[in-house]
Amino acid sequence: MTAPSSAEAPWPVRTVARKVADWIGRLGEVWVEGQVAQLSRRGGAATVFLTLRDPAADMSVPVTCHRDVADRPGLELTEGARVIVRARPDYYVARGSFSLRATEIRAVGLGELLARIELIRQLLAAEGLFDAVRKRPLPFAPAVVGVITGRDSAAERDVLVTARRRWPAVRFAMHNCAVQGPTAAASVIEGLRRLDADPAVEVIVVARGGGSVEDLLPFSDEGLVRAIAACRTPVVTAVGHETDTTLVDHVADVRAATPTDAAHRVVPEIGEQRRLVEGLRARARHVLTGRLDQQVRWLESVRTRPVLASPDRLLHGREDDVLALRTRARRTLAHRVEAAERDLEHARARVTALSPAATLERGYAVVQRADGTLVRDPAEVADAERLQVRVAGGRFPVRVDRTTDREDENP
């Protein structure tokens, strides 16, 4: 900040001039109506000076403008004319002079023209020509872009350079035409017909740089508006500055703010598209890899489940079963054999107890006749009969001798 000025520390002129210029420069653009009091064109100078006077009060303001603004066709700028000026307050520091820097001067009377355009607009709007449903989507990456512009215009260059930079493979079908003056509308219509008839052209750009309202009048021509509405090919308009609205802007499928903006809307940016594709590709890959990994893990978990991983476990229980049954069978059989053995032992003991062998052992004998019958009475045997005697040690033959009977009875 500059220190406050005082008698002891005054500001230099340049400081004051700059401060005033800064302050004035911050004032915005204004539309001002007045009367041309003075007009001075100095030979070939690029700047025209005029004084604008308030018709109802004794006040005036200096106005400067470029020669092109003052000499625009259709504008009859003379002293005494009523004009509407679009201007920005300006302070010329070299001279300390204030002026309005005009960018546009309209003769009053143009208002009527604009009122007529407004009437056409309402009519076409009522017909539905501007309806949102009529707007066609633009092709994504058109092979051929139709371009209607003035020859070698800044608009043409902006469209071509920007579009090529964004999408190098883009091709153009050019139609150069008059973009102002009485032939402009017809010229643009002819371009539309020609490009619309070309099947290779996928989108048409109508571009024109900024200009005065009069310059842009052809772009509010009813015939041109209807020609755009009749196009089968989508149409993008970029006419004038963003603040200017012409009727073609209403009927166009897309209204671009500037020719550069039109190029942006018509072709995609190749790097961006490439990144988009790369991004999608990476995502697809990621998803696929993820799914695959998940399945691999699942399979791994199934394969390590005991029932699959160690099938010998299937046999474990069953082997034990077999072993147990076998042991039971063996034990059962052994018991049966032991029981049978015990039974046999008892039977044998009983047989032994009942057998005559024990009696024979005590010294008794059994006598049998030849036919095997037991001798129980001495009268049964005859003299000299042969008999068998059985004792514990075995058997032996004997012969009966009756002659000794008496001796035996009477010893």
Partner: protein, 74 residues
């Protein structure tokens, strides 16, 4: 590695997987004869190999389609 392409299985991965899950479930549930258990286990092995085959193949195809690093510089 995968089995030879000549013996390209007709069972899809999903079919094999579903059947494998079923086999394991039945094996784990028990109550089968030994012969049934063995048969199921053998089928399970076969299915697991089939699944492995499909997954290996998928990996190979994914690897084959892999862009070289820093792709898109054309």
């Amino acid at each position: 590695m995968s089995t030879p392409d000549a013996a390209e299985p007709t069972t899809t991965y999903e079919q094999a997987r579903e059947e494998l899950a079923d086999v394991v479930r039945r094996l784990e549930a028990g109550g089968l004869t030994l012969e049934e258990s063995l048969g199921l286990w053998e089928r399970g092995e076969e299915l697991a190999q089939l699944c492995q085959h499909w997954l290996d193949r998928a990996r190979e195809r994914l690897a084959a389609a892999a862009p070289p690093d820093g792709a898109g510089q054309d």
